[in-house]
Each structure stands twice: as C-alpha cells, then as structure tokens.
Symmetry: C2
Subunit: 246 residues, 2 copies
C-alpha cells in the first residue's frame, strides 16, 4: 500500500489563473477531493479521482473523513476557497487531528492560496498597504461581543480592516451593528469597500464613505475592507499610504 496523505489546498477567489502551480500539482496526484460543493465543483473529474462534495458547516466531518481516507493509503486534497489558513479548512483539520492522536503521523501539507481580502485589495488598488487586520464577522463560532471588542481595538489601533462573512441569511441584521460600531469609532469620510465575488463573472466593487454605507451592500460572497484614516482615492483607485506621520 502506498503512503496516503492529506493536503489542504487554497483555490484562490475563483479565477483559475489565481491557483498556484503547487495546488494544481497536488490535485493532479489526488485520489480523493473533499470540500464544500462549489469548491469541489471547480475540480475537473477524471478516472481514478473520487469527488466528495459536502454541504456547508460540516468542516470537522470533512477533516475526519480526510484523515480516515489517508490512513487507508488515499491521497486526499481538501479544497478551500481563498487561503486554507484564513477562516477556512486548515484549522478544522488540526482540530480533527488533535482529537485523534493515533493519526498524528499522517503526512499533511497546507498549500496557501490567494485569500479574498488580498484579491479584493488588488482589484481596488492597495487599501491594505499599511498595517491591517482580518476579522471573521460570523458569530457561528464566537459571540458577537467578541466581534465588537475586536472592531473597537482595530479602529483605535489605526488598523485597516478586512471582514470575512459579513452577512448571511441567518444573520441579516448583524452587519448593521458592525457599521454602527464603525460609525462610533471612525470619521464619516472613512472609505469602505464592498468587493463581491472578486475574479468571477459576478465581480462587483463598490467604494463609499462610511457615512453612505448600507448593510445591504454586503452579502455572503462579499469581503468588506475598511481603510485606515489615511486611505484615499487616486483616480479610480483607493490606496493606503505606506507612511504614518510622526
């Protein structure tokens, strides 16, 4: 029996031109691909490859399944969108591994990808060109009070901010609270970028001052970037200067 392995691979934001050769090579060697339905749908079927598309919110099941398959000799790629280490499947795999000491010698590789905030920033200019933070706004796995605490520290620390999972059908009102907190902490002219489905045919970018931001500007496929106080427009672009005045 050949040695099995588990790779967690980032497919980037959507365009195949943003998939690294390292990830493409791993997919070519795989016997099994596991992941959320729309991500597995990006992998071309071929003889010898079994696709295991699963629904959302079963991350731990997927990770356990991957470890079990690898123990039988399978070469398993768990696909994530973006980068697997940013609010995606890598942490779930290590949670599953922690629960199974008998699997600790599994060969594992995490292959980075282009994460949504960096694809969005590139499309808009360079809004994350200075110190910044990334916050998952979903309260599935943390209380909203923790989101609020992080928002206020990020604003008071002068960080630009990128928000993942800003709004979903099950949390229609929470992003409005986020905007309200930002309005308490930041000036009305602060630039905020709504970047939807970057690098796909549905891509749409909207940049407004915080005073004009509406919670309806975000949905499940949107990453939101809030500039720092120096972020500004130049032509059709927005960017954050590299320097902070003393």
């Amino acid at each position: 029996m050949t040695q099995g392995w588990v790779v967690v691979a980032g497919l980037g934001p959507g365009d195949d031109a943003l998939v690294t050769p390292e990830v493409t090579a791993a997919l070519a060697q795989a016997t099994d691909v596991i992941g959320y339905i729309p991500y597995v749908a990006r992998v071309a079927p071929r003889p010898g490859l079994t696709l295991h598309p699963t629904d959302n919110r079963v991350e731990l099941d997927r990770a356990q399944h991957a470890l079990d398959l690898a123990a039988t000799g399978a070469r398993v790629v768990i696909v994530s969108s973006g980068d697997p280490g940013v609010f995606a499947m890598a942490s779930a795999l290590f949670e599953a591994l922690e629960a199974r000491p008998d699997r600790h010698d599994t060969e594992i590789r995490i292959l980075p990808g282009i994460t949504a905030m960096l694809a969005a920033a590139a499309r808009a200019g360079a809004p994350l060109g200075h110190d910044f933070c990334a916050i998952n706004l979903s309260d599935n796995l943390k209380p909203f009070a923790e989101v609020e605490r992080r928002l206020r520290h990020a604003a008071r620390g002068g960080f630009a901010m990128a928000f993942y999972n800003p709004r979903s059908k099950s949390r229609p009102h929470q992003f409005g609270q986020v905007l309200e907190i930002l309005r308490q902490e930041c000036e009305p002219a602060r630039l905020i970028l709504f970047a939807r489905a970057v690098s796909t045919p549905e891509e749409r970018l909207t940049c407004v001052p915080l005073s004009e931001a509406q919670d309806s500007m975000a949905d499940m496929r949107t990453v939101v970037i809030v500039g720092n106080e120096a972020t500004r427009r130049v032509g059709r672009w927005i960017y954050t200067p590299r320097a902070v005045a003393p």
Copy 2:
C-alpha cells in the same frame, strides 16, 4: 504605438510553484521588469525584455519610472515579493500616481501573490486560523510609538499577529522592545513562530513560547507570527482554533 501598461505583480515567498499563472502570463508579455535586485533576479532574461534591478528604499523612484515607461508604450511589470499590496510596491505606485495627475489614465493592474505570513502559516499549520493582524515593524515610515500602540491594541483585542520586517541591521534593538511589549500584554506560554525564508532552500521554522523568545531569532528574511491565547501545538504543528468560547 501600442498602449503601455503597468502591472504590479506578487512573486510569492520564493518558490516558483507559488507564483500564480496570472503573474507568469504578465511577465511573458512584459517589455520591462522593475524591482528590487533579488526579485528581478527571479525573472528569466529573454530577447525583448529589459530588466531594471534597483536597490532597496527607492520604491517611489521605481514607481515613477514605471509610469514614465508605460507612457512611451512599454509593458511594465513591477515585481514584489509576496503580495504587492502587503507592505510592498502597490502603495508606492499609487503614491507616485497621486503626484502625477497627467498619468491617471495609465492602464494599471495589481496582481496578488502569496504573502509571507500566509506561506509561513501554512508551513507551520494554521496559526492565523482566527482573527489576526499584520504589522510592519519597520520604523522607516512610521514612528515606533505607532508600532507600540498597534501592538497593544492587537494584543488586547485578542488578535493573532504577523510581523513583517521585524529586524534589520539598522534597527538591531527594536525587535527586543517589541518582545518586551508582548511580554507585558501576553502570557509567557503564548506561542511565537519565527519563519525564515519560507519556501526557499534557506527555510527555517522555530516555534517557542514567548518566555523563550530572543530578538536574535529574527532577521530581515523572517516573518514572525504570534498566536492568540488559544493557539496551541498538535503533533509537530501549531494552530489556532476557529471557535472562541462565549
């Protein structure tokens, strides 16, 4: 005369298997490649391509040069390591553009890349698997008091942290101050990862508790990742769980 353009492209951390096809395609179309000497050295010479390697700390000159070349019809790629939008050349290009309204109609594209912190995180496990921030520790362009303010807010907000440019010959002692601030804000067992030259033959990863961290563990080619209070080891990996307890 054909229409010129400027692309700012991220070459990733070092391994060509981490360069996106989009970047490879832009380099194949370029007439001119501009950038810091070691990054330009990664681009293969060919007939019709002029390489313009320059020393460090001339980012604005490079950006102006690129805009000037594009105005004459050149197809210019400015190469950055990692992602051009993260402490790299994209912001410098927009600073140069801001100073030259007559160049505002230049065709510009920013092509994202695998930034050092995400390559390092992937190699070590998933230490940035929850909310995190990225801080440039260089005080070339901001006062150290601003670095300190951001460190304290990041720690108090519960963010994991990634530090770029932690230490250089011109700032040998500053990273020691950073460690001292972290020791004031975080518990001694907090995990800290020193990831040097990830994806190159010189790659070296070291993970220690904050109490054992030494400033000599970082140099110019190191990205430093500080976990949050839940970051822990599993087997040879470190990871940050996705959940925060209520």
